[in-house]
């Protein structure tokens, strides 16, 4: 006798622990592969898995075995023209491994690469590994002003508006079952008795008739009794229970500020765009809700849609401070720093109206730096830095914790610069 068991319902991820062990062990390899992938693919499709390739020899498990050399002996099938004593020249360069021929083994230990797939989640984990949002903690510790209601099970007392109908009806049903079970059992017995009598005698004798009547009476009584069981009772009722939980701020707003004056080419904008998207992806891993505000500017600043932000072109001079002023205004109007984590990234080719850089520094130091968690400035230019860079350098020197700036020359720099900007700082790693 055989047992037949359906195991399909069992979990199918029996190997997931072993898989994780493998990923952990080859973390360095994978990180390298991920870094290359990030640099190669466009940032738009960063949000998917990746094929990882590791040289086979690196994951090889060593065993004692025979190497090449000595006298090998082997039997092959499919002889066509050989007879004993034939001498066959070895193929050139093959070294005559094994028999020197026909060794088309499909699992040779050549330098094949070991290839496997990691999921999007794992991929992003590696992309953002060891990166941390600067000053993330500070906001969480701030005075909590928001609460959320959370489910906390079911209770027997509450207001009608919180009545849990399913649970209440379930209880009622169970209670009705229990309370009427004696009567129903009896009813079944009596009915069976009556049926037996009816089945036995077609023309009924008087004493049986009396018995039948009595039985019918009993049946009616019992049915009544069963019906009298209350359909819904007060102690069937159940209410949803909620508790108030303080809500740490999990909202973030990200300001993208970009110069769209005539000097910014589409290529420069693309570089900026990639940086913004990378930052956005990174923020989504840390916050539940993220607002993105796009501010573009030439001589005046304007809040725009994403489409307009990246693709419409304008000409004219550049006044950076206009964008900073607008940002400050938007924060005041819509994103109170108590409730929002504010991040800003500014991209520019470094051009600015000469007098304006001083003003920028002033606005930055006096107003913005204290509002934001982190402000990053990237300058996308192969040329020499101009006044804006130098003004910002002073800001960075005074506020190293919440302001950072880097120079990007080409697309390949984006990811390294990003990593560099958000590298987990030593003093934060313990928090």
């Amino acid at each position: 006798m055989s047992y037949i068991i359906d195991r399909r319902l069992n979990g199918k991820h029996k190997s997931s622990v072993n898989r994780q062990r493998f990923l952990r062990r080859y973390r360095e390899h994978i990180r390298k592969a991920v870094e290359e992938a990030v640099n190669q693919r466009s940032i738009q499709d960063l949000d998917r898995g990746e094929q990882i390739t590791i040289p086979k020899r690196d994951i090889h498990e060593p065993h004692f075995g025979h190497g090449e050399g000595g006298i090998g002996s082997i039997v092959h099938p499919g002889n066509k023209e050989f007879s004993s004593g034939d001498r066959i020249p070895k193929p050139e360069g093959g070294g005559g491994q094994g028999s020197g021929q026909g060794d088309a083994s499909n699992q040779g230990e050549g330098e094949d690469d070991f290839v496997f797939q990691i999921s999007q989640e794992e991929f992003l984990n590696f992309v953002f590994e060891d990166l941390a949002l600067p000053n993330l903690v500070r906001k969480n510790l701030k005075e909590i002003k928001e609460f959320s209601l959370k489910h906390a099970g079911v209770v027997s007392e509450g207001t009608p508006s919180k009545l849990n109908i399913v649970r209440s009806m379930r209880n009622a049903y169970a209670r009705r079952m229990v309370m009427s079970s004696g009567s129903r059992k009896k009813l079944a017995e009596v009915e069976a008795e009556r049926d037996a009598i009816l089945a036995l005698a077609s023309d009924t004798a008087p004493e049986e008739k009396a018995k039948l009547e009595w039985l019918d009476e009993q049946i009616a009584l019992l049915k009544q009794k069963i019906e009298r069981t209350p359909f819904l009772d007060t102690y069937d009722l159940r209410y949803n229970h909620h508790v108030k939980e303080p809500l740490p701020s999990t909202k973030a707003v990200m300001f993208c500020i970009m110069d769209v004056s005539g000097s910014m080419t589409q290529e420069t904008k693309n570089v900026a765009k990639r940086f913004f998207i990378l930052l956005y992806l990174f923020l989504t891993r840390n916050y539940e809700k993220i607002d993105v505000v796009f501010i573009r500017h030439h001589t005046s600043a304007k809040e725009v849609s994403e489409e307009e932000f990246f693709y419409s072109r304008e000409t004219g001079g550049t006044i950076v401070s206009s964008a900073l002023k607008l940002m400050e205004k938007i924060v005041k109007d819509r994103y109170s720093p108590e409730q929002w984590n504010i991040y800003a990234a500014q991209a520019s080719d470094g051009d600015n109206w000469d007098d304006d850089s001083r003003i920028c520094r002033k606005i930055m130091e006096e107003n913005i730096v204290d509002l934001v968690q982190y402000f990053t400035y990237i300058e996308i230019t192969p040329r020499e830095h101009q006044s804006l860079w130098h003004s910002y350098e002073q800001v960075q020197a005074n506020h190293p914790k919440s302001f950072a700036m880097r120079n990007i020359v080409e697309v390949g720099d984006i990811y390294p610069v990003f990593r560099d900007l958000f590298q987990r700082r030593q003093h934060e790693s313990n928090q």
Partner: protein, 509 residues
């Protein structure tokens, strides 16, 4: 063969399977198997999905195993190959246990399920129960319990000593896994309850024994000490490297010894399978062929079913020629199936050649001869005993010798009357474990000095060791705790020395 083809006798029509059908087929097949006298463990048939099959692959066919990255690697490899369509999954996996567990994939149709039941649940199963190697080396009733024990123990170790630490030990044990078997001693069967009970005790005693060997405080008088100085350890070379380490490595913690033991027991469990590939697969193929045909003969299945079966069967037992792009060595299914089928043929329709070569078999009842052949051999001796000239001719076998110093390979024998004997020996040799794997033994330990250890490799046909050797020696050193040297000897000539220190491979010539 009289065949009654009444519609009502058919077990099923159409390709779909259901649990009732599987049960019906299993009952029918088990009846036929019993008629042929197949003796099996009870069967446990489990239906699984293809993902679960990949999981089963990754754990080398064990229903549950401890965690290790190498299984993860295996899984990723299987998954990748499967997804790209580079390989299909095996139709079944069967586990040597009692009850004998066989996995059936849900994607297969009814014909395949029946084929797998015949192949695994009656073919492999009866082999596990009957073959002497399996009887000697494994205890089918206890293996599942032992696996549970091993998994739990290693999990506990990971909690206590850290994943990293346990992984290092396991890595080293795995490197030596093929050297964890006593080839000439009968092992004790393994079971969980005993293991658990003896484990604590063993920890203490083991540590004590080890300490005795490494005692540093002199307790004997001078005379005794002198005689002791000539004491050679180990007194005889040790072939079971893992066992030697488990019992004698000076620095190992008790839990590490236990882990070595677990890996050793796994090696022991797989030891018979490594030596009976041809016999085991051949036996299962022979019986699925016989049982399925008998199903047809008894009118239980229709023509389409048996034709579809024959196609699958032909794929399983096909043998590409050496010059075919699909060639990857001798197909054990094909060779085994051919030998068993030929034994049956010789019993029933012998030729003069058979009378000359196999006087003991000719004319005997084939079921008995086959049963004998299944029980008492391993691949090497099985081929030596039963490979007939006809099978050699059918496969067009030829034997080749390849001397590395020569620019030619030489054809030594082919399938003709002067070649049969030599060819058969050469093929049998190919399945001899001690020919396939190098002979490496613990030679001596410097117990009074630096505790360094010498391993001796005795070359077979002057074949050197492979490129992994240094790595494996390092693993050995990790477990031993002190310097390890591996000497490669060809006869009286020391050819090469590998030491556990980095960059110190030297060649003697």
């Amino acid at each position: 063969m009289s065949r009654t083809n009444k519609e009502s006798d058919l077990l099923s029509q159409g390709p779909d399977w259901s649990f009732e059908l599987i049960q019906k087929y299993d009952e029918e097949i088990s009846k036929i198997a019993a008629d042929f006298g197949l003796d099996t463990y009870p069967n446990q048939i489990e239906i699984i999905s293809s993902e679960q099959m990949m999981d089963a692959y990754a754990s080398v066919g064990m229903p549950l195993g401890y965690h290790h990255w190498s299984y993860g690697k295996q899984f990723l490899e299987t998954e990748q190959n499967y997804k790209r369509g580079r390989m299909g999954l095996a139709y079944e996996i069967v586990i040597n246990s009692s009850p004998c567990i066989a996995y059936l994939m849900e994607e297969n149709n009814m014909m395949m399920q029946a084929l797998v039941i015949a192949h695994a649940c009656y073919g492999h199963n009866s082999f596990f129960k009957g073959n002497y190697l399996f009887q000697t080396w494994t205890d089918a009733t206890a293996i599942i319990d032992y696996l549970v024990f091993a998994k739990k123990y290693i999990l506990e170790c990971e909690e206590k000593y850290g994943i990293e630490e346990v992984e290092l030990t396991l890595d080293s044990c795995h490197a030596l896994m093929n050297f964890g078997v006593d080839r000439y001693k009968r092992p004790v069967p393994i079971s969980m309850i005993e293991e658990k009970a003896r484990q604590d005790e063993r920890e203490k005693i083991l540590q004590q024994q080890v300490n005795d060997l490494w005692r540093t405080i002199p307790i004997m008088d001078k005379a005794e000490q002198q005689s002791k100085n000539e004491f050679v350890f180990p007194s005889e070379p040790q072939e079971n490297l893992l066992y030697f380490l488990e019992k004698n490595a000076p620095l190992l913690k008790p839990w590490q010894r236990e882990i070595i033991r677990i890996v050793r027991k796994m090696a022991q469990y797989f030891y018979p399978q490594r030596q009976t590939q041809v016999m085991n697969e051949g036996w299962a193929s022979f019986w699925h062929y016989t049982l399925m045909n008998e199903l047809y003969n008894r009118g239980k299945v229709e023509e389409g079913f048996i034709l579809e079966f024959l196609q699958s069967h032909t794929n399983v037992v096909s043998q590409p020629s050496f010059d075919s792009p699909y060639y990857s060595g001798i197909n054990p299914y094909a060779l085994g199936f051919a030998i068993y089928t030929d034994i049956k043929r010789m019993c029933e329709n012998p030729t003069d050649e058979d009378r000359e070569w196999f006087p003991d078999i000719v004319g005997k009842p084939w079921v008995e001869v086959l049963d004998f052949a299944m029980r008492n051999f391993k691949d090497e001796s099985f081929i030596l005993q039963f490979l007939s000239p006809k099978v050699m001719r059918d496969f067009r076998f030829f034997g080749v010798e390849n001397d590395v110093l020569d620019t030619y390979v030489e054809v030594k024998e082919i399938h003709n009357s002067s070649g049969y004997q030599g060819l058969r020996q050469r093929l049998a040799q190919q399945y001899n474990l001690s020919h396939r794997e190098p002979n490496i033994q613990v030679q001596r330990v410097n117990i009074y000095g630096d505790r360094s250890l010498v391993l001796k490799h005795t070359m077979d046909h002057s074949r050197p060791l492979n490129e992994d050797t240094i790595e494996v020696v390092k693993h050995f050193k990790r477990l031993w705790g002190f310097d390890v040297r591996l000497e490669s000897w060809d006869g009286d000539q020391l050819e090469q020395t590998y030491t556990s220190q980095i960059n110190s491979e030297e060649t003697h010539s």
